[in-house]
Symmetry: C2
């Protein structure tokens, strides 16, 4: 079989370990004779459309290794969804032009649910447009909402960030509550699924420990029930800690806070659950509050990444390459949880056509009966994903993260493509 | 000389290293023959007034050692300011009653500027009310605004947290800005002094790196100048990162965001600079934004504490005890920066009457000419304080912080005291 080049791109919101997957792809590709070079899309799929391909072979071995401890998307990512063949034939034709011009036969797409859909469409180019390509999806999303995989790389680290931060902030308020703040609210990511908020529960050592209330989108917000629980907790503990998903919502699907703007995928841009709740509590119960909004800090927090997550992110990158050279197409690499009491995992795969655009919510039996916490089953699922520390090296007091040279391959096409 | 007991209390907002100072006090006291027992105030000075004294000797050696890596106030803290002798004679009489009843001759007060004032008043009890006591102030404040000490324990760690978080979030937005967010704002603590916000600059490796704008209370906010800088930065870099002090203010002293409530010391309770700036930018320039509010996460973030800060916090605790047994009274222990290019520090002291209620601002020559960044001099000051990592031990994926038993000493006074 003739050698082909590989295209790798990062898509959607970045995580603290997506570069570990990139590292896995690049290191594995270097070991494979069938793959000549790896070209990374500058700013994701947009890089392919614009023929802005980063020549990964120009980066040092040390820089590529360093990706394993570097957060964000080292090659740039984007929020850009390819429409259907019929709606956007020009885009697919352009992709084929670029792939042909650069002898690209492997397509590795590192993203979440929306990106799985793009990857699926690319995998169908052979059939739909007569261009032979193998497309493999590498899972990534802090939201943990991809189906068929036990977890999504990126989630374990944000879960650890939220668990650690919740624990630390809870200790802070506990030591001050006698004369000061009674309510602390941490707002975390999670548009439709409560996985990230649920991870706040890992801060608990004993029953009754903070966080006392977790608000997940899966459970409709009931103001009266919530206020009763807040009041009872302050009465009993002297303070109350709440971890709230940005996507916390009422029974009718209205978000508690809705800024009203939407992103390129049509998702509503959220933010503001914490202040909404804080004002609600102060109006009704009069307690002094503090709140934090972790925003990018949580998904970029490589300094407190989960070692398990880093290992899995790297492994799915490697596996994508190995599966590609085995001839696989139109699959997503998955993490499988092995049977047995001790947590062990291995690599599997799932057909992309089943993955695309499906969101995995928290199962009801992971959520406590009152809807404000998690069950033992939920804890057994979540805890191992946050296990282990994997500290980056430091220089001058801050992490020494890698910066790539990002040398672009010379363009071969005459025409520019307008995004 | 007869042995006396010591009283130790934590005051005001807690930090990720105030317990390291407690550890220093307790370990040093155990080595001193003049000090019999250490009693810690439950919830700070309130514990003394209520005769709620924690018997530190009931804690294991391991627990006390563990305080060195445990954030928050392990004995509880409070926001409670003693008024003058004239205004609140009953409180001082009560303190003397409690001190007498428990044979307390040493008073160690661990706090910031307001607490230094309380400590000074206690130090004057000998003279004003005829009760012999030595009062030593142990500096602590994330705000770094105590005078006479080169830095305040607690600050180095929050500075490191802000530097690390700014660096990580900046990398996140850099990799997404092509198609998504253009503006990221991190709101940090700092009511009147910009030290914490300034530490965001330590995220920079090279000139022009994020954060591009730092807003400190020391420099009056000029909307036009700010907007010009934001626009120019987005044009040049594709994105703009802003670190803003909660105390950022206009020329007339109006805070950019003012929630209108005040704490027990009469300070305005702030929060909301980030969303204020975000809306301002969107209205005028139309950029998509994200913002984070670190709140308690920054001052409780022991998982990313500065090793230098931990060592200094421990050292000032030890030194307080050593100075007390030398006969010192009415002083604050200080950190002195030694001369020379390489950062070295030692312990000093300052008279409390000069310390109390004085706030140390960022000197103008630490702030860049345009007011949006720091100078080399500022960097030379800040950077060493964040140097070194001092990771806590972990258990089940989260830090294994110490919980004390907090056994109260049997009360000897009949009368309760109402706070």
């Amino acid at each position: 079989m003739a050698t082909k080049n590989a295209f790798y791109a990062q898509s959607g919101g970045v995580t603290s370990v997506i570069n570990a997957s990139a590292c896995g792809v690049i290191e594995a590709a270097r070991e494979q004779k069938l793959i000549a070079k790896v070209f990374a899309g500058q700013n994701g799929i947009i890089g392919a459309l614009r023929e802005e391909l980063i020549d990964v072979s120009k980066e040092s071995k040390k820089s590529i290794e360093g990706l394993k401890h570097t957060p964000s998307g080292a090659f740039g990512s984007c929020r850009y969804k390819l429409k259907s063949f019929d709606e956007s034939r020009a885009e697919y034709e352009r992709l084929i032009e670029v792939f042909k011009a650069h002898n690209i036969g492997y397509f590795f797409y590192n993203g979440g649910g929306d990106s799985a859909d793009t990857c699926l469409k690319v995998s169908q180019l052979s059939e739909s447009m007569g261009y032979p390509i193998q497309a493999i999806h590498i899972p990534k999303t802090v939201d943990n909402d991809l189906p068929f995989t036990d977890c999504s790389p990126g989630f374990g680290s944000v879960a650890k960030y939220v668990a650690v931060s919740t624990k630390e902030a809870s200790m802070d308020i506990a030591s001050m509550c006698e004369t000061s703040t009674k309510i602390f609210i941490l707002e975390v990511m999670g548009r439709h699924a409560g996985w990230i908020a649920a991870a706040g529960a890992l801060a608990q050592e004993e029953e009754g420990d903070a966080p006392h209330i977790i608000l997940m989108p899966e459970i409709a917000f009931n103001r009266n029930k919530f206020m009763r629980k807040v009041k009872a907790t302050v009465k009993e503990k002297g303070y109350c800690v709440i971890v709230a998903s940005e996507g916390a919502q009422y029974k009718d699907g209205t978000f508690l806070a809705d800024s009203g703007t939407t992103d390129a995928f049509g998702h509503k841009q959220l933010g503001g659950v914490a202040p909404t709740l804080a004002n609600m509590i102060q109006d009704e119960l009069g307690y002094k509050y503090h709140w934090a909004l972790a925003d990018y800090l949580q998904r970029a927090g490589r300094h407190i990444a989960s070692a398990t997550d880093v290992a899995q992110a790297y492994a799915v990158g490697r596996a994508a390459v190995e599966k590609a050279v085995e001839g696989k197409n139109a699959i997503m690499v998955t993490i499988e949880r092995n049977k047995g009491k001790k947590y062990r995992w291995s690599i599997g795969e799932a057909p992309l056509e089943k993955v695309a655009n499906v969101e995995k919510m928290m199962p009801r039996n992971y959520i406590s009966k009152d809807g404000f916490g998690i069950t033992d089953l939920g804890r057994q699922y979540l805890q191992p994903l946050t296990e282990g520390e994997d500290y980056p090296p430091y220089k001058n007091g801050v992490p020494d993260y890698v910066r790539l040279k990002k040398v672009l391959v010379a363009k071969k096409l005459k025409k520019a493509f307008k995004i």
